[in-house]
């Protein structure tokens, strides 16, 4: 038996929240399930919906596995992702 659109199992992604993003989510970490081949912008949209975050992704940077990454990056199962609000060190 076959389907036209193969239903692939969702992948698991870990999230770290910092500063104003942690303020909005009320937590430091999350685990979410998302469709394979999702992009970081799709992941951010899911988090926005869950926590009612209105800030557009363009105002943030994003890190995958402890390095900055482009928003176009495709997620892999087990990735650790952090949305990075404007920094204020120094």
């Amino acid at each position: 038996m076959s389907t036209q659109h193969t239903e692939r199992a969702p992948i698991t992604v870990h999230l770290l929240y910092f500063a104003s993003v942690a303020e909005a989510t009320g937590r430091h970490e999350d685990v979410v399930h998302i469709a394979p081949d999702s992009s970081l912008t799709e992941l951010y949209a899911q988090i926005q919906a869950r926590y009612g975050i209105t800030r557009p992704y363009r105002e943030l940077r994003v890190a995958v596995n402890d390095d900055f990454a482009p928003w176009t990056t495709v997620l892999q199962d087990g990735d650790w992702v952090a949305f990075i609000p404007p920094v204020a060190g120094g």
């Binding site: 104003s20 942690a22 303020e23 989510t25 009320g26 890190a63 990075i84 204020a88 060190g89 120094g90």
Partner: protein
């Protein structure tokens, strides 16, 4: 400005207030990679001692201190939060690029996280080189790049109990 975060939200920040390793490991990292985070007062002398070099005639240094005001508002204290793993990866890359860009011998930078009081040192940067201009130029570039790219966030607390997230680019 918003009121101070709820207890829930504050707990959400707690992991970003402390470094994972111990202090000696952080100083070793500063020596090895040129960059580290600390969650206790920065020992400037200990960092400076890492830069001693008989070939060097110039030592340029910058310290960022917590000011008692920001624009018009009187600051009581502030908290720095850090994403340590990303900060260390970025820091290593910044210090490596500084050595490639400028004619310098060594450079070390450390940023503190956690609760700081007025006058506390938030960041220390030291650069040594044979001649003076590369030391000045590199020190300033490292500071600017840390301010732009190191994932550290600052929340200032004011006399009326309000607080504010600061941003370096706005």
């Amino acid at each position: 400005m918003t009121k101070a975060p709820s207890t829930l939200a504050t707990d959400a920040h707690t992991p970003a207030l402390r470094i994972k390793g111990d202090t000696d490991s952080a100083y070793h990292l500063a020596y090895q990679d040129g960059f580290a985070l600390l969650d206790i007062p920065i020992d400037a002398q200990r960092l400076k001692d890492m830069l001693d070099d008989e070939r060097c005639g110039a030592f340029a240094c910058f310290e960022g201190w917590v000011r008692n005001h920001n624009n018009a508002a009187a600051v009581e204290r502030l908290t720095y939060y850090g994403y340590e793993a990303l900060a260390l990866n970025q820091g290593r890359a910044i210090m490596s690029e500084a050595k490639a860009r400028f004619d310098i011998t060594h450079a070390v930078a450390v940023h503190r996280i956690g609760e700081l009081a007025i006058g506390d040192m938030a960041v220390w940067i030291g650069v040594v080189s044979a001649h003076r201009y590369p030391a000045f130029d590199a020190c300033r570039w490292i500071l600017d790049t840390i301010k732009a790219d190191i994932p550290v966030w600052k929340q200032e607390y004011y006399a009326d109990d309000s607080s504010q997230w600061l941003s370096n680019n706005g």
